[in-house]
């Protein structure tokens, strides 16, 4: 996740080192001594085996020759912050990229903390890449604003393009997607997750209509996306897949809100022999699901749609039972968007081989969960709602010894909700799931003892995210702050790289994090800490800290300034609703010329010295030129 490495200041560009021969970055090597030319070729042939970007960053810093060779051989380009480097600079250095990962807005944008129109547009990147990256095959965008015109440019510019992954993006419609499909001569892996704007089936229709000119679409994945058509305007996009066998390997549309033409879908599935993943939306009833499964027994990953009866007496139960009986390859199940838990038992035949199960949209009680979960000994990933309760989590702990990732979402995501899971469930999980690597746990009642116990039992934890939803809640048994619990996590879980804290926390908690969180890269803090000391502990104690997002904490300028020596090592700092003033932020901006210090106001007209939202990140190119009026770059 580190920024693309750049040569240290002295090495920027080809500044005078005194050698007579410098090849131009284009690498013709015309002026290079013969021996050096061979060396660089050899180097390139060796370096193309380096895949880790951190290794590549390190290699590029060895000397100029290695820098050039590495640049020529990097085919996967990762840009963790689209504003940290300019498109032209990236394209100028890396000429042969085939795969791009680009991230835009800060994560708090997911929770409506970043105003719309803030930025992170794809357009300037495409403009730079289009003439240069003729071999581009894959693009993965996260929290980037993508316009239809961008997708048009994308489709026109990269003849080998085949994989598009959009996660939490916005700004486009399916009209843009249609054009992608038309111009891709090779197969496409299209994955769109969490799209939040104007994603219509009308566009999907156009998208699919272009398929007649290409039969090579491999995947169309629309994940966590809001499709905003009115029912009247919904278009039958599924019918637009070309006749004959397809190359489809993955079809995911579980978040498309409009009904789809079932006959067309069934026909499509029947003629997609390579289909591995199929995730349908909630308008597909259980009865219909059976028919789809019957046509695709090779499926390994299934999103079950509503998993409920269609309203009329629709006894899909027997059909479901036999369908799952026949689906020997299923290892991943999700969906369950409807309410009908009475069909749950039909998945029984596949439970033994399930490695991933997502019940996070299903209101399931402990009694309903138990018969299923006790038959899933190979589960590695589990998502549930807290409706399963501590009892349900006890059953998970008893049954899923191989569990690596657990997510417990709240049924009722408000501060005042009852919360159905607690410290009891956490302790149970920690006792049973010793191999746990990642946990996200929403609750209302927690104790230090439970968190400490988890830290002792689950020492392989890499990600620990605990969200006590009521703000400032202490240990509900002792009344004490949650300092000791989180302290134990950072102390005992030596591989921890990501942490989210909550509950009543004092500076002591942050002292612990600073002292023990030596591998910590990502930290989320909300409604915690007493004084600026907390921030100082973090910034001066955690050498690997890359991403720090803070909201509603009593941290002020003194805390902010205590990190001046560290900010260049970080990807970004976000602080909102804290106690920062313009003076403090300006002082940071003055001290650190390569930081871009953005003060975001979303209350127009409020003119005072306090800073509502600070977003600060290192950049090689200085302040961006596309900042909206509500962003003040210091």
């Amino acid at each position: 996740m580190e920024e693309v490495s750049e040569m240290p200041a002295g090495g920027e560009g080809d500044g005078g080192k005194g050698l007579q021969c410098f090849p131009d970055p284009g690498g013709t090597g015309a002026q290079m001594p013969f021996f050096d030319h061979i060396l660089e070729n050899v180097l390139e042939n060796v370096l193309c085996f380096l895949t880790s970007r951190r290794d590549r960053n390190a290699a590029s810093l060895v000397c100029k020759s290695w820098y050039r060779a590495e640049a020529q051989t990097r085919i996967e380009l990762f840009i963790g912050n689209c504003y940290a480097v300019s498109p032209s600079r990236a394209v100028g250095r890396f000429r042969r990229v085939r795969s791009l990962v680009l991230k835009g807005k800060p994560r708090f944008a997911d929770f409506n903390l970043v105003p719309l129109e803030w930025g992170a547009r794809l357009t300037p990147w495409l403009t730079a890449m289009a003439p240069a990256y003729t071999c581009l095959e894959q693009i993965c965008l996260k929290r980037v604003t993508v316009a239809d015109d961008d997708l048009f440019l994308l489709a026109c510019s990269f003849p080998r393009f085949r994989d598009l992954s959009l996660i939490c993006c916005d700004g486009f419609t399916t009209a843009g997607l249609a054009i992608i499909a038309q111009n891709c001569r090779y197969g496409i892996h299209l994955s769109i997750q969490g799209i939040s704007d104007r994603f219509t089936t009308a566009g999907l229709y156009q998208f699919e209509s272009w398929f007649s000119s290409t039969r090579n679409l491999r995947s169309l994945d629309l994940i966590e996306n809001d499709v905003e058509d009115d029912e009247d305007e919904a278009v039958d996009w599924v019918s637009m897949f070309p006749p004959g066998n397809t190359c489809l390997e993955s079809l995911v549309f579980d978040c498309v809100a409009c009904p789809v033409n079932f006959e067309a879908l069934a026909s499509l599935v029947a003629r997609s022999p390579f289909l591995q993943r199929l995730r349908v939306n909630e308008h597909i009833s259980a009865g219909h699901l059976c028919q789809l499964l019957a046509r695709a027994p090779q499926i390994t990953d299934l999103g079950t749609g509503s998993f409920a009866a269609s309203g009329d007496a629709d006894d899909a139960e027997t059909a479901l039972e036999s369908a799952f009986h026949a689906s020997k390859s299923l290892s991943c199940l999700s969906g369950f968007r409807g309410i009908a838990a009475e069909y749950l038992h039909t998945i029984h035949p596949v439970c033994a081989h399930l490695t991933s199960l997502n019940f996070s949209y299903a209101l399931i009680s402990p009694q309903q969960l138990t018969p299923i979960i006790t038959c899933c000994p190979n589960l590695e990933t589990l998502w549930v709602l807290d409706s399963v309760g501590d009892d349900g989590l006890q059953m998970v702990a008893a049954s899923c010894r191989k569990l690596k990732k657990l997510t417990v979402f709240p049924l009722e995501a408000t501060e005042d909700s009852e919360g159905s899971v607690s410290d009891v469930g956490l302790i149970a999980i920690s006792a049973g799931c010793r191999k746990l690597r990642s946990i996200l746990y929403f609750c209302q009642r927690m104790t230090n003892n439970a968190v400490v116990t988890m830290s002792q039992n689950c020492q392989e934890l890499v990600v620990f995210r605990l969200c006590i939803m009521g703000r400032h809640r202490p240990d509900h048994l002792t009344g004490e702050p949650m300092d000791e619990g989180f302290g134990a996590i950072v102390k005992n879980c030596k591989n921890l790289t990501r942490l989210a804290v909550s509950g009543l926390l004092t500076d002591v908690a942050f002292a612990y994090i600073g002292k023990y969180g030596k591998l910590l890269r990502t930290l989320s803090v909300a409604f915690a800490g007493n004084t600026d000391l907390s921030l100082r502990y973090l910034l001066q104690g955690c050498p690997r800290l890359q991403k720090l997002e803070i909201r509603d904490c009593p941290f002020g300028d003194a805390g902010l300034l205590s990190g001046i020596d560290h900010y260049y090592n970080m990807r970004f700092l976000w602080m909102s609703s804290c106690r920062l003033s313009l003076n403090g932020c300006e002082e940071v901006a003055r001290a650190l010329p390569r930081m871009v210090v953005e003060v975001i106001k979303d209350m127009p007209g409020v003119e005072n010295d306090s800073v509502q939202k600070l977003y600060m990140y290192r950049s090689l190119v200085g302040p961006r030129n596309d900042a909206p009026t509500f962003v003040n770059i210091l």
């Binding site: 501060e415 500076d507 003033s581």
Partner: protein
Amino acid sequence: MSTETAKSSTESEISGLNYEETELKLGLPGSTHATGSEPERKRGFSETVDLKLGRSLGVNFDYLTAESSANRASAGVKPSSNKAQVVGWPPVRSFRKIALKSCAYVKVAVDGAPYLRKVDLEMYAGYQQLLTALKEMFSCFTICNSPNTNERRLVDPLNGAEYVPTYEDKDGDWMLVGDVPWKMFVASCKRLRLMKSSEAVNLECLSSPANDFV
């Protein structure tokens, strides 16, 4: 839908909230509440305790606390009265909240009819509305309020048969609709059955699981 949510929350919700929400007054460990007392008490901002800056943290902290006080003063201290919902908290994405909104759908079965319907109990404010909806749904009934009790019955005018609305609760027992307060009913009702009156007498004994609708 999510976009609208995002827009409205960005423009309107934030404006009223941020300054109040930053007024955190956090207690030092053990300073303001006895151990274990009121562990379940929900904490609003008006209930959060005063931060006694520097009291037991030692003198080193004075310069920091002084600045914190100054910042607090400049931010405009506004005690909040109610528990306003804060933007983006708890950090659950809006599409996840929306997807789970309707969780009071129950199936409705009518004795003698081959089909089922579904109703969202949360759409109704009370029993009368529910019965009206059921009446419209099955279209052949009229509502007849029994003069003797609080029971409400549905009457099929064709054959004069009376139907009693019953429901299966969370424990699997079949109860008469109307016996408990509406909200309790909504929370505990798993499915509805319009039972012929003649059979309804069996509801006198409570734990008779209905195995017709498994």
